[in-house]
């Protein structure tokens, strides 16, 4: 069984992640997920690939903290967080977050909280590769 929280080079399967999440409890009435994808266009520039650099050990540590905090805050029955690193092509999947709870409201709230916090707290950096060259993305405040 793959870790519930991990970074990896390869793509992920929602079916596999959701099956693993649901295996943890039959009390789960609602599962909310978020998938971030590599867009082929960003701030007016065509983007062909995105390259990710990560401070791996800390990234996984922070993602596990997010999982624990969300579980307490929203009384979740399960959480999965997967982030890809390396090079991802336009249109490919980058990040997956899933939150399972007895009812839908906490699952949906937790999913939004998890992706918002992940972007704030997890040491991963994105470089956009365009036909004109490469540039590290500067996040908006």
């Amino acid at each position: 069984m793959k870790d519930a929280v991990r970074i990896q080079l390869e793509d992920f399967s929602q079916d596999e992640e959701i099956a693993a999440l649901r295996a943890s409890s039959k009390r789960m009435g609602g599962i909310a997920t978020f998938i971030g994808c590599a867009r082929d266009f960003s701030e007016g520039r065509e983007v062909t690939q995105i390259s990710f650099d990560a401070y791996g050990s800390m990234a996984v540590g922070e993602m596990n903290k997010l999982r624990d905090e969300a579980t307490k805050k929203f009384a979740l029955l399960g959480v999965r967080i997967v982030h890809r690193v390396g090079v991802v092509g336009a249109g490919e999947q980058i990040v997956f977050v899933a939150a399972g709870a007895e009812h839908r409201a906490p699952a949906l709230q937790a999913c939004q909280w998890l992706i918002d916090e992940l972007k704030q707290r997890v040491p991963i950096w994105k470089k956009e590769i365009t036909p004109q060259g490469e540039a590290w993305l500067t996040p908006h405040p």
Partner: protein
């Protein structure tokens, strides 16, 4: 030795992903930062966060121990 790591845009501006700083008794996080900031000013322009041994640190007066891992990081852009 203190191992200092750089990632993403900071590593690009430093020109490498790791440097070593000689440990001295009583050394604080800000001593390491000042020493490197002089050497790599462009990189430190974009540094927003600092981690010691994999944990976010806000207090720059934190005393370091021999073999600490220190990371100076720009704003995250994952997800």
């Amino acid at each position: 030795m203190i191992r200092v790591l750089f990632f993403g845009p900071v590593a690009e501006r430093v020109g490498k992903s790791e440097v070593q700083v000689v440990f001295k008794a009583g050394m604080r996080l800000l001593d390491v930062r000042e020493q490197l900031q002089v050497k790599y000013p462009a990189a430190f322009e974009i540094v927003c966060f600092t981690a010691v041994n994999g944990e976010h640190v806000l207090d720059m007066s934190l005393p370091l121990t021999e073999h600490s891992d220190v990371v100076f990081m720009s704003k995250f852009s994952g997800g």
